[in-house]
């Protein structure tokens, strides 16, 4: 498990990341969301040791992370690029070796990955000779070297064509299945909702929400929708509730006092037909909008 504790980074007067804490559990995908300038990239760079840490710490398997731990992490920086004028096999092997793999093992691993991404025939080609889509695939391979123990990916899906997104998703699922913690940032909330087990929301350098998707949707004041056979105007007189919306037989209420929803159901049943009584959970985008507002 990767733990981020009270991480802080200042650039002059500006505090880019302000005492941010969260966890990336093993075998889970943790989505890291927030607007531009929220501090996602700065946080990830600190986790990877590319940027110095002003305050706080990063823990790996319960102890402070070391450079050698990080060497085994897969990392995809926000801005992409490799050596344009070097054969793709050679440069991927070079990166794998820099990350501590032995040469022969690196070659085997890289060759397997290139084949998996349909680039088995192109190993000797210079990167710049490949199509943009294939260059992205090479970039993805570079980020999962060397048989990582954790993955830190900054906007891994941005700029990918749909086919590459699917390969990336498959690859990430393979890693989480093997028990590897994955942290990735994204602007694409639909993708995050589809993929992530957990979510961390950052706004202006501060963590504003964190938890599993279900936890986040359950968090906050519970809301219920009640649909009746007759007019629902009487709901306004019920105690412990706030009516957010009222339209004929339909009412949306927020519970202000524990148990108030039970009294509401009892009263509704006493008065006549109850067509629907349901807990309303906000969409992720709504939570995100509220959290970052």
């Amino acid at each position: 498990m990767l733990e981020i504790r009270e991480l802080t980074r200042r650039f002059g007067e500006n505090t880019a990341v302000d005492h941010v804490s969260f966890e990336v559990p093993a075998g889970q995908m943790t989505g890291f969301v927030g607007g531009n300038g929220a501090g996602k990239t700065t946080t990830m760079r600190m986790v990877m040791g590319v940027l110095g840490i002003d305050e706080g710490e990063v823990l790996w398997q319960g102890r402070p992370i070391t450079r050698l731990d990080r060497r085994r992490f897969g990392y995809m920086p926000e801005e992409r690029g490799l050596y344009p004028k070097q054969p793709i096999l050679d440069q991927l092997v070079y990166i794998a070796q820099l990350k501590g793999m032995e040469r022969v093992a690196a070659r085997t691993e890289v060759t397997e990955l290139l084949e998996r991404f349909g680039l088995g025939e192109r190993t000797g080609d210079h990167l710049e000779k490949l199509s943009l889509g294939n260059q992205q695939r090479v970039q993805i391979i570079a980020s999962v070297l060397p048989r990582p123990v954790a993955l830190v990916l900054d906007e891994p899906f941005s700029g990918l064509d749909p086919a590459a997104v699917d390969s990336m998703v498959d690859l990430l699922r393979d890693y989480t299945r093997d028990g590897i913690p994955v942290l990735f940032s994204s602007h694409q909330l639909d993708l995050v909702e589809r993929l992530c087990d957990r979510l961390v929301v950052l706004a202006h350098g501060r963590r504003v929400a964190a938890g599993t998707v279900a936890e986040l949707r359950d968090a906050g004041v519970p809301r219920f929708r009640l649909v009746l056979g007759g007019d629902a105007g009487w709901v306004r007189d019920q105690g412990g509730l706030e009516v957010l919306d009222l339209d004929g037989g339909s009412a949306l209420v927020e519970v202000r006092q524990d148990g108030a929803e039970q009294h509401l159901v009892a009263e509704a049943t006493r008065r006549g037909d109850v067509h629907e009584f349901v807990r309303v959970r906000p969409a992720l985008s709504e939570i995100y909008r509220e959290a970052t507002a």
Partner: protein, 397 residues
């Protein structure tokens, strides 16, 4: 950046991996190979040309008015003993006017005639080096012989006990000329290598910075290793190339009439390689900094200007300095990298002088490595346009 100092014993050190990539990617680069091959051809060609020029026999026509015919004939006869490549043809003319006409019309190369207290060799406008040398030598011999006879003695008697022979004087001058030429080659080779490999190093730093691969590398290894690997790789390449050039040059020289100088040149050449190594490492770090300060290749022009200026100062300083200026410059890094080898070539250097100069240069290199590493590490991850030296120095990591 984490401060843990750990080693990974299972794998190669990171700097060695970087060095190898630098060397391999360069050595397999066609433009590098063609450039080196072209330079080798140029050196071989130049030496071949010099040798040919040296071997070429010269013909000169010497005009002489009646009162000088006897002397001119003696010169024609004596010429082969002084300069075996020179053949002198005698052209008898009637008077001064005829002699001058012969010169203007290129029928003669020079006109010999007696003047008060000696002889004069008049030519049209161009210097007749080899002819002059021969005439001087023979005239001196003749006149000396005449004077000796007049004084009732012989030239041999007069010259007895004088250790200085004309042959020795001439050889010394030739050695100085060779030292000058080789000195120029040293200065040029250093300038050329420092500029070409420096530019290459700077642009490979920008390539990594611009493509952002540096962030992947920074997450894997300390940037210190990246810098060390790049500097070592380029130094190795520059030294290998230099050795190729020097070997081609020295071997080529051994096929020319200058072959007797080759043994005397090997000592200074060895010193030069030492100075080249220290000087190149110092400058390579500065080139890496110039690269790291730029964000795009287009910025390199601006960030490397101070360095290209320094290179020019070294080049022209190395070539033009002499006397006390040269002695001082031969201890001042990084100019000493070219000036001291030149002084060693010229001779007259105390044994400790190159050692002190090399020591100072090594200290300078160590300082640039230290300063360069700090600047490089801090500037490398800043992508918002050009980074100033001050920003790079004071930036937090």
């Amino acid at each position: 950046m984490s401060t843990q100092r750990e080693t990974d014993r299972d794998t190669e050190p990171a700097w060695l991996l970087v060095t190898r990539r630098e060397v391999v990617s360069r050595i397999t680069d066609r433009s590098f190979l063609f450039g080196t091959a072209f330079m080798v051809l140029l050196i071989a060609g130049f030496i071949g040309f010099t040798a040919w020029q040296e071997d070429r026999s010269e013909d000169a026509t010497l005009a002489a008015t009646p009162e000088a015919v006897a002397m001119a004939t003696a010169i024609g006869d004596g010429a082969p003993q002084v300069d075996e490549d020179l053949t002198i043809t005698l052209l008898e003319v009637d008077d001064r006017a005829a002699a001058e006409a012969a010169l203007t019309e290129d029928e003669a190369d020079a006109w010999l005639h007696p003047v008060d207290g000696g002889w004069q060799l008049t030519s049209e406008s161009s210097l007749q080096d080899s002819l002059t040398t021969v005439v001087e030598a023979v005239v001196r011999q003749q006149v000396l012989a005449d004077n000796a006879a007049g004084a009732g003695t012989t030239v041999e008697a007069l010259e007895e006990g004088s250790a200085v022979t004309t042959d020795f004087l001439r050889g010394d001058a030739e050695q100085a000329a060779v030292a000058d030429a080789v000195g120029f080659v040293f200065v040029f080779l250093f300038y050329f290598a420092a500029l070409v490999f420096g530019m290459q190093l700077a642009s490979s730093v920008i390539e990594e910075k611009q493509s952002r691969i540096v962030e992947i590398i920074a997450a894997a290894i300390p940037l210190r290793h990246l810098l060390a690997g790049k500097v070592l790789g380029n130094t190795a390449l520059a030294v290998i190339q230099l050795l190729v050039y020097l070997v081609v040059g020295l071997v080529g020289l051994s096929f020319t009439p200058y072959k007797s100088f080759v043994p005397a040149l090997s000592g200074p050449t060895a010193w030069f390689i030492g100075f080249f190594l220290a000087g190149f490492v110092a400058l390579a770090c500065l080139w890496a900094v110039a690269g790291s300060l730029a964000s795009r290749t287009e910025d390199l022009q601006a960030t490397s200007t101070p360095l290209t200026m320094l290179m020019l100062v070294m080049f022209f300083g190395g070539l033009s300095l002499d006397g006390r200026g040269q002695v001082i410059a031969s201890f001042v890094p990084p100019v000493s990298a070219v000036v001291m080898p030149k002084r060693i070539l010229a001779g007259g250097v105390e044994w400790w002088e190159p050692l002190v100069a090399l020591g100072l240069l090594a200290v300078f290199a160590a300082i640039t490595v230290w300063v360069g590493e700090r600047l490089y590490r801090r500037a490398l991850l800043q992508t918002g346009g050009r980074v100033s030296l001050r920003q790079a120095w004071s930036a937090a990591e």
